[in-house]
Symmetry: C2
């Protein structure tokens, strides 16, 4: 019999299959081979095809020329623009405002084919630092309420350019999905006076079965309430509600947990598309006891169909303890 | 400048592009040509490959043999099973219950290649009646709290079998997505003492620009707050919170609005994958003044990526008034 599991933060239910568990070959994973190097605007030598760099890790050369190892630029075709006023207004029953925001791209490495899973630990640390420092900078703009950091890898996960990159969108409102998570976490905290994510970490550590990475500072696991097969969550062990408060000692652990988890997914599942999303607090300057920043990696192995859209349920055909065991079976060389 | 629009029921924000509007060719629509007729378990003559029929419209022949024009059967590989007890229990911070429910399939026509968009009006009426009568029957089971009816068309929309079919899942809980919609509609009602969907209909009728079907009983429109390009909502004009209260006079209008909308989408966009979902009240026997049943059609033209997953925002590159104008440009022969 399948099991219904309730995710304690947002309250969505997950149908977890306990029999008929698919193998890797059953997922029909599309190739994510990168073929567009010849015209890629994110490669060395084509720096003039992007807006100028906002942040750069550079070994040599002048700005906006080759020699960099990481580069952050504005999105050339932004969903939201930084210039202008919000001008909130009502339109009948609807509300409307101008599309103000910031939309940046963090190019993770100069080589076209080396993606987040292939970075060295040192390079992965650079990426995490870029998330932190771009967030700190954008927080100064008083129009913004939330900074969302995410990565789309592979066409079916929504990546429109192949070259490895993450995105950062600063929003003039706290988005619904974040609001839901904050409210769920606050409800739990008000009832139990404990952070729900800290409780989840304790439980995952007690059970041990779903952990895919652990060191002194950080843990990564396939959560008991995984919505998707091979989903992995990465969390700092010490309570912290905001990515921008990340301390120097924890960054290497976050980088390792993320790089290793992505590499295990790539090797075990044969390079599937995925999204990962940094879940962090809204911009309001206070450290919250009821929320815990973390990263959620969601491999795109199954389609989201009418049932999921209509209900907010998810159907996960791979129990997370099996997923963790499979991911751990991959041998990794350190780098 | 792009516009941010707020959907007044669930409160999600939509980034509506007002320039750089993509044309049909920009969407790279995958072929949904049907090639699997030779082994299709939903075709005439293979009735023994599905569980026995629960509901059937039959021109001739004994049960579970050819001669039918519509057939409802249990799903052979159900996400939830009808036998057993719920056995709710806590597992640490999590909640769990057995996967109890009903999962049925409504096979819309006997021909393998004729799908919902290709039905005659009379056949489309049969489909709507099947939704109503299966819902009425399943409501008697006291374990169920909600009945979700939806259709996945095309592989990328999650259809695993080609032969035209809708699905019906009876759930032991009111799902999160429905709960959100009910709460949003109730909040609006408590404030304004009017149904938010009735207000939306009034507004769409005043503006006229986004209507793709209208008769005395039913309206279909590309909502001002479309999350997806070429999204169409179908609503009874007279307030009614529940599909099962649908009266005999309104069924033909619902059937026409649905068939015509699907056919316009198929013809204008070149047969894209889509989902449609029937949004209706939970099972609890009372007619609600604050909720309005309707159908939402969501063509799958863009990928849902990290930004949407992380925020609950949507990016819609086609303004709904343009979508409606394009859909209306399709010439339909009545049938």
């Amino acid at each position: 019999m399948n099991e219904l599991r309730r995710e304690p933060v947002t309250g969505c239910w997950i149908i977890t299959y306990l029999d008929r568990i698919p193998e890797v070959k059953d997922f029909k994973i599309e190739s994510n081979e990168k073929k567009g190097e010849a015209t890629c605007p994110f490669c060395w030598g084509r720096e003039d095809q992007t807006p100028p760099e906002i942040l750069v890790h550079r070994k040599y050369g002048p700005p906006n020329s080759p020699g960099w190892s990481l580069r952050a630029v504005s999105n050339k075709f932004p969903a939201l623009r930084i210039e202008g006023e919000l001008n909130k207004e009502g339109v009948g029953v609807f509300d409307m405002m101008n599309g103000i925001g910031a939309h940046e791209v963090i190019i993770e490495a100069p080589e076209h084919k080396r993606d987040a899973a292939d970075l060295t630990y040192a390079e992965a640390e650079q990426v995490i630092w870029a998330y932190v420092s771009r967030s700190i900078d954008l927080r100064r703009d008083k129009r913004f309420k939330y900074i969302l950091i995410f990565k789309n890898y592979g066409k079916i996960a929504g990546a429109s350019l192949e070259h490895g990159h993450s995105q950062l969108i600063a929003l003039p409102i706290v988005p619904k999905r974040v609001q839901e998570e904050l409210e769920g976490a606050a409800t739990y905290y008000n009832y139990k006076e404990r952070c729900v994510f800290c409780d989840m970490i304790r439980e995952e550590r007690d059970e041990k079965e779903r952990i895919v990475y652990e060191d002194e500072k950080v843990i990564a696991f396939c959560p008991y309430v995984s919505r998707f097969p091979y989903e992995v969550w990465i969390m700092p062990k010490k309570h912290a509600s905001d990515l921008t408060g990340l301390d120097r000692d924890t960054v290497p652990s976050v980088a390792r947990a993320l790089r290793d988890s992505l590499l295990r997914i790539k090797k075990y599942l044969g390079d599937p598309a995925y999204n990962f999303i940094v879940h962090t607090s809204p911009i309001n300057g206070r450290e919250r006891e009821d929320y815990h920043w973390h990263i959620e990696i969601m491999p795109k192995l199954v389609k989201v169909a009418g049932f999921e859209w209509g209900s907010g349920f998810y159907i996960n055909p791979v129990p997370p303890d099996i997923a963790a065991k499979n991911l751990l079976s991959v041998k990794l060389e350190e780098k």
